[in-house]
Every structure is written in structure tokens, then in C-alpha cells.
Amino acid sequence: MLVSVTEDMEMSKPSDLVQGTLDMLLLKILVLEPMNGFAISQRLKQVSGDVLQVSDGSLYPALHKLEQEGWIKAEWKTSEYGRRAKYYSLIRLGRRQLEKEADNWGRLSSAISRVVKLKEA
């Protein structure tokens, strides 16, 4: 599952919250340009400053699910290695889903912040 690597912590139990978040992150990464699975996980690691890493075993199922839901589409192109590789790209419906999820996330995270920042009595 999604792993937060701050101090080599153990994997936490998957939950709906975390799964939904992963979908959103993947969609966001694909906003800029089409990528294949490997590249996506690299980019996620890079952009989050090594904080967020997706285990390979969870990445591909998530991508396939997104494809099945119709938010991203896949194309087979010849990679730089001369082999066939699968590239994912975001489509219009996916963009809308991304916006929706980003909104939700914003609301959720500010709510959590408010709770956490409650002054102790």
C-alpha cells in the first residue's frame, strides 16, 4: 500500500481513505504528461521528496482500476528501449474526477488540521 517513509516505518493497514488518496495522487501526476507505471512511481517519490512511495504491488492494480473506471487511458508505444511499453494519460473525465477529489481532500485536510490545532485546555 501507500507507504510513508519518514523513518522506515512498517506498512500501515490499507483503508478507504488511503486508497482514494492514492488514486488522486496518480491522477495528478498524469496531468502534465503521459507516463508509464515505473515513471509514475518515480515521479511521485521525487515530487514528494521521498516521503510518499507506492509499493510496486499496489501501483499497478491502482492504475488498472483507474483505467477501468475510465479516468485514464492507456496506449502502447515503443519505449526508449525499443520494447513495447504501456503509457497512461489523463482524459477529460479523469480531470473532472481529479478536481472533485482534490476538493474533497482540501476540505478533509483543513478539517483535520483544525482538530489537531485545538489548543489544550
Binding site: 515505473f38 510496486d56 504491488g57 499497478y60 492494480p61 483505467e67 477501468q68 475510465g70 473525465l93
Partner: protein, 902 residues
């Protein structure tokens, strides 16, 4: 999801569904590509190629598992899963054709037996005529002061009821049914069973004609207006070839001219869907063609009409009851001499209406329930068999299941897949079973009922039968699949990798053994029931009939159908007998109004001189037959005392009668009946003298006590409406005599249709005779044999598997010096437990159901020792024989092979 979104994703899903091999390959490519890149990354970090590759794979978590998870992620739609399971299941079934064939056949037998029997039960109890709103149509019956029911009414009764019941009935019609008339069209004459109906009959029923017109409400009651005929659909198809030109044709009914105006719709057989009405005419014509008596319309004593009525909307037969009772009381008060008005009841239409006895439907339902139960038992046995087969196979697939579980499939999916496999099996079995059932009921429908009535024996497979079959299949699938599925998925890979294929856990073996015990028990129960029915049949057949049916031929004619009046008819019959007697090979010939155990039973009320019925008992009744003098010689009914009829006992002579021993004993106990007198309540003027006593013989049913019976001379009691049976005793077979006799009849009366030609023994197998017993025994025996076959296969299977399971152990024992005989005993001991347990269970079950079965047995107790012991012996012998083969195989095991075999 929004519609356009769904449309967009649909091609994707379909692609996953239909091109999943290609999709799978793409998945493989994608993951390998990922592995390659990951490997490169690690190599760039300084690892060796090998280590980098290994590390990359570890990161991915195993390529197969990752693929499985991707596949699951793609399957957002459960239909894809289902179809996947279906295809997999089909492949598995195709791979083991032997197993599939046996399982499907077993299930087909069980389901087929059930559907066939259900279609018959449906025909008897659930089928209603295909008319508008059949639940509103009822037939009426009245109950007399003696408690007996009658569904015959007079025309004045009909008018009274019609006028007084307007609050409960929207329309009331009457019909005179089952009149055997002669129809003559274009010179060809044949028998037609006709119904004379009031003008509003078809309107009340609510059907439209298939051709032409039906009888209109304007049809009057006078014999002169509207001599019209409506043909029944099946009759029209069979005798007129479906020719639409019949409308408007002239024809003769019993010699009287009529015009054919139309054809009734297809599927309409009259009020009763069991018997087919072949023609309909206005009631007014009955006074002419059926000689129903010119006073049909006014005579309150002529009770030949059936009344049917349509309830008003919202009224049920039960809620109409009080009103009807009031009507009955009113009529009873107005006409005290007619003592049949204790109450009036309306019955909903059913296959057996018009019914005269409210108990009849219950008896029929009981019989139906009994045979459905027996058939259900056969199906259960079949299920047990297939469940056992599946269990055995499941143990063979344990490894496969365990490996799949280890690879990441979770248990519910495995269970679902196994259930789908068993569902496929049962669906195949269901389809085959329905085909079998159709064939069986077609065959049943072609049974010759030995009657001249046109029975409608079409056991249609309508929606009820199909849904019953399907329901049975689904239940079967669940029963059969659930146990193996649960067991198979509990597999633990580690344990299994150390076990052999047929080595089952003791738990599973016990389950299978228990199942087989149930099978043996069920089969024994079926055999016992079958044995009881067969013995009952034998008993009934061997009963002393009191007459000798062998070498007697019956020819039934209705003189009335040629239009002869009474004088002409008597002339004809008088000339006929000597000519028939003159035919070569004929020993004797006689005429009779009824034949034993035929469909007609004549009775008369008696007033016996010097005999007073005890208080509370109704007036004496006796059955009677009107016969010509040689009757007793033809039927070989022994004369005890006095004399039989002579030719000199003519119409003008003193009315005489010959009675049977039962009548003599009942009404002249201790005295000599000869010379004594009695009168019939129908004809109180003429006093009848008893001139002879004959031995008791079976007239109505093959069992039960002998009832008082009277024989009167045919010439003194001739009824021109009724058919007459010419009986002759000859050593020649029917085939050779048939032509001669018919020619003789036609030489005297060319247009006389001969209704029925049969041997006396053959007609004993009719509806009132042995037929029901034969059918019951036949059905029960078939089910019993089916059950026995299933149980045999079951016992063989489980003992065989048990023996091979212990091959290892047997090898060791034999290597250590055990004798083959001891091995045999060991195998048999296991078998003995199974068979013994099954027998105990079966006897118990049979004893429980014995009470229900006992209602239908004659002369045999439900706990008949011979049957029980016989059935037990058969089962034991068959089961032990089934054990013999695996036991011998076990005995011949070579210890070296056994020890090596794993």
C-alpha cells in the same frame, strides 16, 4: 456513473471479457517492462544483474500475484467474474467427459422423473379450462337428505336456481353432457360425444369460436328452431381434417338434420378439461335427437342437466354458500317429494369437475402427493450420488485448490467457482431431464385407457412444469455443490503436498459414507413401496371375479344412433342374436346393458314386499343389468337356484328378475327369495318376481364387499338411449372375429356405428378395473428400480474409493503376512456398516410413509412382511455385489506396488 461515461467504459469491459487472453498478455508485458526498468535502476545503483533482478521481483511481490491483483482491479463488474467462472467450469467439465456424463445422466433421471410426474399431477389437479376468468366459473352440486351428492338437475330446477341466484351469479347455464350421438356427414357416420347446452352457455363461458359461430343466447328451447351444431376443435381437426368448409354443411345427428355453424376454439374441451366434448347443440334439440323425453323442460324428476355458473366479480364459492343454502331450503319446502335439497354447493372448476363427490379431489391430491414424494426421493438419491461424485473429485483437486489459494485467490471466490461448476452440471442435467420427462409423459399420454370416452391426455409442459423443473435443478445444484465446495476450499497447501490423490481425510470419507447410507435407505424405501403396490395389483388381479372373462368379446353399439325407434331397435336386436350365433366359432352370444367394471353402473331403488328398511336407513338400492337370456352362459356366471331367463320371457310376460347371493342374503335372510316380489321405484306399477339366484360376481370394482345386484331381461327393460353391448364367447381371437361380427351387424343395419370392440379381459384393465392399480404399480416399480440403480452406483463408488484409499495400508498388511481373506473381510466390514445402516434407515422410513401408502393398497397390509423382507434381501444382495468388485481388487493388490504407490 453518467451515461456517456458508462458508454465509454463499456468497450473496455467488453474487451476484458472477450479478449481476455490478449489483455492478459498485455498485463504480462507491462509488468515485465516494469521489472526491466527496476532492474536497471538497481544495476545503476551498483548491484549485479542477478541481484538487481531478484530485488526488483521482490519489490513487485511476485509477478503472478501482482497479475492476479491487477486482474481483480479490472473486474469492477461482477458479471465478468461470473462469465470467467462459467468458462472455467465448462472447461473443467469438458476435461473429464466420463464424470460429466455420469453426473448429468444421474441428474437427468432424477429431474426427468419429477417433471413427468409433476406434469401428470398438474393435469389432474391444477389445470383449468382455457376460458375467460376460470376462477369465477363454478359447477353446482346438491346434497340430498341421505348425505349423498349429485350433480344432476332438472330443467325446472335450473330455471329456479337461475332466477333466485342473481345476487351471487352473473350468469347460469345448463348442459346435458356426454351424450353419445351418431353424426352422419356426407354419408360417413361416426360416434360423437356431444353436449346439449342452454343458449347462454358459450356466452357465460366467454370463448370465441375458432371458425363460424357459437350457439347464441337466442337459441330457444323448442325442438324446431335452430337445429345447429358446433364442433369441438380436436374432433374437427381429426374427423374433418381442419376443413373450413364444414361451416354451413348439413349433417344428421341420430338421424335428424342439423346445420354445422361453427367450431369451438382450440384448447376448449368443455367444462371439464379432462374429457373432450366433440360437439355442442342447443338444449332444445335434446328432446328430439337424444330422446330426452318430450317433457324435458317441465319434468322436475328428470335429473340430467349439469349446471355451471359464473360468479359475480368479488364473490367466491365460499361467500356464495349461504345464499345457495337459502335457495336449497326454499326448493325443499316447495317440492317436498324431491328429497335432494338439503343444500346446494358451488364448486370451483378443476380438472375433475363437474365433481359429484367433494372427496374426490382430495383423494386425487393425495395420490399426486404420494407420487411426487416418491419422485422427489429419487431426485434426492440422484443428488446424493452426484454430491458423492463431486466430493470424490474434489479430493482429487485439492492440490489445485490449495495452490490457487496460496497464489492469492480467496476462499469465497473458490467456493463461488465450485458452486458454478455444480450449477452447470445441474443445468445440463435439467435440460436433459426435461427432455426425458417430456418423452415419458408423451408415452404416458399414449396409454390406451380402454374407454370410448375421449380423454384429453395431453400432459402439457406449461410454465408451471418448467418452473418446477428449474426450481428442482437449482435446489439440486445447491445441495450437490455446497458440501464439496466447503470441503475443498479448506485445503491447506502444506498438508496436501505430502498426501496422495485419493487419500482423503477421514472426515470426508465419513461424509461420503453417511451420504451412501442415506442413499441405501432411500432406495430401500422406494423398493418397499414398489413391492407393496405390485403385490396389491397381483391381489386385485387374482381376485375371483365370479365370471369368466377369458374368450369373451364385447361389441358396443347404440341402436339409437341410427335413428331407430324402440320397436325397430328391439326388432334389430332380436334378429341380430341368431345371426351372430350362427357365425363359426361362436359358442354363445348375448346382449347386456352394462359390462362389469365398465364406465356405466346402473342402479334402481327397490321396494321389497315384506321388507322394511331399518329406521334411519335409506330405501334399498341395488345395481342392475338388463341382459338377454344367454348372458349367464356367455359370462359363465353359475346359477345357484331357480332358473335364468328364457326366450319365452318376453315383453308381455310377467316381469321377472334374477338376483345375486348378496341381495338374497340382505333382503330375504333365512327365507327363500324364489317367487317373492319387489318393485323398482322408477316403475312402481309392475311387480317383479324373483326366479333365480346366481353367484356373486364383481360388477363395479375389483375389491370390496359384494353389493345386491339384479339382472332383468333386456326385452322388458329396454332403454333406447343407452348403448348395448353384444357379448359373445368364442375361442377365436378378436382380430379374426371383428370383421365378421361388424359385417353381421351392418348386414342388418348398414349405418350402425360400432362404438367399441374389445376382449372382456382387456376391458377389465379399464378405468374402473385394474388400470389404476397397474399404473400405480408400474410407476412405483420404475421409481424403485431407478432408486436401486442409483444406490448401487453410490455404494460402489464409496467402497471403491475407500478401498483404494487403504491400498497403502493393505499393502503393508499383506507384506506383513495377512491373508487375502482377511483383507476381504476388512473391506466388507466397512461395506456392512453402510448397508446395514441404510437398511435400518430404509425400513424405518418405509414404516413412516406406510400409512399414506396404505390408503391405496388392496388386500395387502402396509407392513406386509414378505414385501419388506424381499426388498431388504434385494438391496443387501445388490449392495454386497457392488462391494465385491472393489474388494476383489483390493485382495489382488501386490504388496510391492502398494507400498510404492503414493
Amino acid at each position: 456513473m453518467r451515461p456517456e461515461h458508462w458508454l465509454y467504459t463499456l468497450p473496455l469491459r467488453l474487451r476484458s471479457l472477450f479478449h481476455w487472453a490478449q489483455v492478459d498478455q498485455e498485463l504480462d508485458d507491462e509488468l515485465r517492462d516494469h521489472l526491466d526498468r527496476k532492474t536497471e535502476e538497481y544495476v545503476a545503483k551498483g548491484m549485479t544483474q542477478e541481484e538487481a533482478h531478484r530485488r526488483a521481483r521482490l519489490d513487485l511481490g511476485g509477478i503472478e500475484q501482482a497479475k492476479e491483483r491487477c486482474r481483480d482491479a479490472r473486474r469492477v463488474n461482477w458479471i465478468q467474474d461470473f462469465v470467467q467462472d462459467l468458462r472455467f467450469g465448462l472447461r473443467i467439465l469438458r476435461k473429464s467427459p466420463g464424470f460429466t456424463t455420469v453426473a448429468v445422466l444421474t441428474l437427468a433421471l432424477g429431474i426427468g422423473a419429477n417433471t413427468a410426474i409433476f406434469s401428470v399431477v398438474d393435469w389432474l389437479t391444477l389445470r383449468v379450462p382455457s376460458i375467460a376468468k376460470p376462477e369465477q366459473v363454478t359447477t353446482l352440486a346438491s346434497q340430498g337428505t341421505d348425505g349423498g351428492y349429485s350433480n344432476g338437475f332438472s330443467y325446472p330446477d335450473f330455471e329456479d336456481i337461475r332466477n333466485q341466484s342473481t345476487t351471487v351469479f352473473s350468469d347460469v347455464a345448463a348442459s346435458m353432457d356426454y351424450q353419445a350421438d351418431g353424426l352422419s356427414v356426407d354419408g360417413k357416420s361416426e360416434l360423437m360425444w356431444a353436449s346439449y347446452v342452454t343458449g347462454n352457455f358459450f356466452q357465460m363461458i366467454g370463448v370465441k369460436p375458432a371458425l363460424g359461430n357459437l350457439i347464441e343466447p337466442t337459441a330457444g328451447l323448442s325442438s324446431h328452431d335452430e337445429p345447429v351444431l358446433v364442433l369441438g376443435y380436436a374432433f374437427w381437426k381429426a374427423h374433418f381434417g381442419g376443413d373450413s368448409r364444414v361451416v354451413g354443411k348439413s349433417a344428421l345427428v341420430n338421424g335428424r338434420p342439423v346445420t354445422i355453424i361453427g367450431v369451438a376454439p382450440n384448447g376448449f374441451h368443455g367444462i371439464s378439461p379432462l374429457l373432450d366434448m366433440q360437439g355442442y347443440m342447443p338444449l332444445g334439440m335434446a328432446t328430439v335427437t337424444a330422446d330426452a323425453g318430450k317433457d324435458l323442460v317441465t319434468n322436475r324428476k328428470s335429473l340430467g342437466l349439469t349446471i355451471s355458473a359464473r360468479l359475480k366479480p368479488g364473490v367466491t364459492p365460499a361467500s356464495a354458500q349461504p345464499e345457495l343454502r337459502v335457495i336449497a331450503r326454499r326448493l325443499a319446502a316447495q317440492y317436498p317429494s324431491m328429497d335432494n335439497w338439503r343444500t346446494l354447493i358451488a364448486y370451483a372448476l378443476g380438472p375433475l369437475s363437474p365433481i359429484s363427490n367433494p372427496d374426490t379431489p382430495n383423494t386425487v391430491r393425495l395420490v399426486g402427493a404420494l407420487f411426487l414424494t416418491l419422485a422427489g426421493l429419487v431426485l434426492t438419491l440422484a443428488c446424493l450420488n452426484v454430491a458423492n461424485l463431486l466430493l470424490a473429485r474434489a479430493s482429487g483437486r485439492q492440490r489445485e485448490m490449495a495452490v490457487r489459494a496460496a497464489l492469492g485467490g480467496w476462499r469465497s471466490r473458490l467456493i463461488r467457482q465450485l458452486l458454478i461448476e455444480s450449477l452447470l452440471l445441474t443445468l445440463l442435467g435439467c435440460v436433459a431431464g426435461i427432455a426425458l420427462g417430456l418423452a415419458a409423459s408423451r408415452w404416458l399420454g399414449s396409454i390406451n385407457l380402454h374407454v370410448s370416452f375421449p380423454f384429453v391426455l395431453d400432459f402439457q409442459f406449461d410454465w408451471r412444469v418448467f418452473s418446477y423443473a428449474f426450481g428442482a435443478a437449482v435446489v439440486t445444484a445447491l445441495l450437490v455443490g455446497i458440501a464439496p465446495a466447503l470441503r475443498a476450499t479448506r485445503a491447506n497447501l502444506n498438508d496436501l503436498l505430502h498426501e496422495s490423490a485419493c487419500t482423503t481425510t477421514t472426515g470426508r470419507q465419513r461424509t461420503r459414507s453417511v451420504l451412501v447410507v442415506a442413499q441405501v435407505g432411500g432406495s430401500l424405501m422406494l423398493l418397499i413401496v414398489a413391492g407393496l403396490f405390485v403385490r396389491s395389483l397381483r391381489h386385485v388381479q387374482r381376485v375371483n371375479l365370479g365370471f369368466d372373462p377369458g374368450n369373451v368379446l364385447n361389441f358396443t353399439i347404440n341402436v339409437h344412433q341410427t335413428g331407430y325407434n324402440e320397436a325397430q331397435a328391439q326388432d334389430f336386436l332380436r334378429s341380430l342374436l341368431p345371426r351372430v350365433r350362427a357365425l363359426p366359432g361362436v359358442e354363445s352370444a348375448s346382449l347386456a346393458a352394462t359390462i362389469p367394471m365398465g364406465l356405466t353402473y346402473l342402479g334402481m331403488g327397490l321396494k321389497i314386499e315384506g321388507y322394511q328398511p331399518p329406521p334411519g336407513q335409506s330405501a334399498p338400492l341395488a345395481g342392475y343389468n338388463a341382459v338377454s337370456p344367454q348372458y349367464f352362459a356367455t359370462m359363465r356366471i353359475p346359477l345357484r337356484r331357480g332358473r335364468v331367463f328364457l326366450d319365452s320371457d318376453g315383453q308381455a310376460s310377467q316381469p321377472i328378475a334374477v338376483i345375486n347371493e348378496a341381495m338374497a342374503g340382505k333382503y330375504w335372510h333365512g327365507e327363500d327369495p324364489l317367487g317373492r316380489h319387489f318393485t323398482s321405484t322408477d316403475d312402481p306399477e309392475h311387480s317383479i318376481e324373483v326366479v333365480g339366484i346366481v353367484k356373486n360376481s364383481r360388477v363395479a370394482q375389483p375389491y370390496g364387499p359384494y353389493e345386491p345386484y339384479v339382472y332383468v331381461p333386456l326385452v322388458q327393460h329396454y332403454n333406447n338411449q343407452m348403448p348395448v353391448t353384444l357379448q359373445l364367447r368364442t375361442s377365436l381371437p378378436l382380430a379374426s372375429m371383428n370383421h365378421e361380427v361388424v359385417d353381421t351387424i351392418h348386414s342388418l343395419a348398414p349405418a350402425m356405428p360400432v362404438l367399441d370392440t374389445e376382449t372382456m379381459s382387456g376391458s377389465l384393465n379399464g378405468l374402473n378395473g385394474f388400470m389404476l392399480f397397474e399404473i400405480g404399480a408400474g410407476l412405483a416399480a420404475s421409481l424403485g428400480i431407478l432408486g436401486l440403480a442409483l444406490a448401487t452406483v453410490g455404494v460402489y463408488g464409496v467402497v471403491s474409493c475407500g478401498a483404494s484409499q487403504r491400498t497403502h495400508e493393505i499393502g503393508i498388511r499383506m507384506a506383513l503376512g495377512a491373508q487375502p481373506g482377511k483383507v476381504l473381510k476388512m473391506i466388507f466390514r466397512q461395506a456392512l456398516f453402510i448397508v446395514g445402516g441404510g437398511i435400518a434407515l430404509g425400513v424405518l422410513a418405509a414404516a413412516c410413509i406406510a400409512v399414506l401408502v396404505g390408503n391405496f393398497l388392496v388386500g395387502v397390509s402396509s407392513f406386509d412382511a414378505i414385501t419388506y423382507v424381499g426388498a431388504v434381501l434385494i438391496i443387501a444382495a445388490v449392495a454386497l455385489a457392488a462391494c465385491y468388485v472393489p474388494a476383489r481388487r483390493a485382495m489382488r493388490v501386490d504388496p510391492m506396488v502398494a507400498l510404492r504407490y503414493e
